[in-house]
């Protein structure tokens, strides 16, 4: 994939391949983005599991879906 480099003062414009240093940086960027995406996905899964567990615990204490929805609106309490 080509990269575009332009000098705004002269108007010179070059479309070229990455230099070896730029390729190293690009590969590091891709790895960092993939790691961040994995971390975000893991957090989302953990948050979802925690939500389910919290609702189940509330119901074990006798709370209904309607009561859970009022007390903890962010839980989305009709998961029963």
């Amino acid at each position: 994939m080509m990269i575009l480099e332009k000098w705004s003062d002269t108007g010179e414009r070059v479309e070229r391949d990455r230099t070896p240093d730029e390729q190293v940086q690009y590969e590091a960027d891709v790895a960092a983005a993939e790691a961040a995406a994995s971390e975000a996905a893991a957090k989302a899964a953990a948050d979802a599991a925690a939500t389910i567990a919290a609702i189940a615990h509330a119901k074990s204490l006798g709370f209904t879906d309607a009561m859970i929805a009022v007390m903890y609106p962010n839980l989305g309490g009709n998961n029963g």
Partner: protein, 199 residues
């Protein structure tokens, strides 16, 4: 005898003047206008670049001592669902390293989320560009060319969702350029950079 306008002193022929008697008047007026325009406040277009299917776009020598702050617009599309990020640039090279902080609010018609990152290797302008949607972004860049100060960015973007947030490069390098790129794939579009006079 030609008159002059009250504010900027532009020359003009009076009704009683024969223009042929003042052959240099037109050129004098044009030169006076050309000299005044850069001193006026507001936006001054510095660069206008269209690009097609590039993995990144770097602008060199777009920031200078002429302006302290800048306004950038970007429109376009992406080849893949990815993030749009940027790095500051000096003397033809991107500022690499873990010197970027970022905080972004992302909202859709039903959700609101906040993403943040400190000491990152890029400033994330948007956490997701969906290929089916256009990129419409405005980015304000503050003090990029001012030595010994950090460069701050404010941005707003609308693609799949609406993003607004801040970015900061904690390096105090004097930056004369900026690079935008998607984390994967390519982008196609148009980038315009304006200097903010009097701002």
């Amino acid at each position: 005898m030609p008159g002059t306008t009250p504010i900027y002193g532009f020359p003009y022929p009076e009704p009683s003047d024969l223009v042929a008697n003042y052959p240099a008047l037109g050129q004098e007026l044009a030169e006076d206008i050309e000299a005044v325009l850069p001193t006026l406040g507001g936006l001054t277009l510095i660069d206008d670049e269209s690009f097609s299917a590039v993995a990144s776009i770097s602008l060199n020598n777009v920031f200078s001592a002429t302006y302290q702050n800048y306004f950038i617009t970007m429109t376009g599309t992406a080849s893949a669902n990815t993030d749009l990020v940027c790095r500051m640039r000096a003397s033809g090279s991107d500022q690499s390293g873990s010197v970027y902080d970022r905080g972004t609010f992302a909202c859709s018609t039903t959700t609101l989320a906040f993403y943040s990152g400190a000491s990152s290797s890029t400033v994330g302008i948007q956490s997701a560009i969906y290929s089916a949607n256009r990129i419409n972004a405005v980015i304000n860049v503050f003090d990029p060319f001012t030595a010994s100060t950090q460069t701050n960015l404010l941005f707003t973007m609308n693609s799949q969702s609406y993003f607004t947030g801040f970015g900061r490069c904690t390096s105090t390098t004097q930056f004369d350029g900026i690079t935008f790129f998607p984390n994967t794939g390519t982008i196609t579009g148009r980038l315009r950079v304006y200097g903010l006079k009097g701002v």
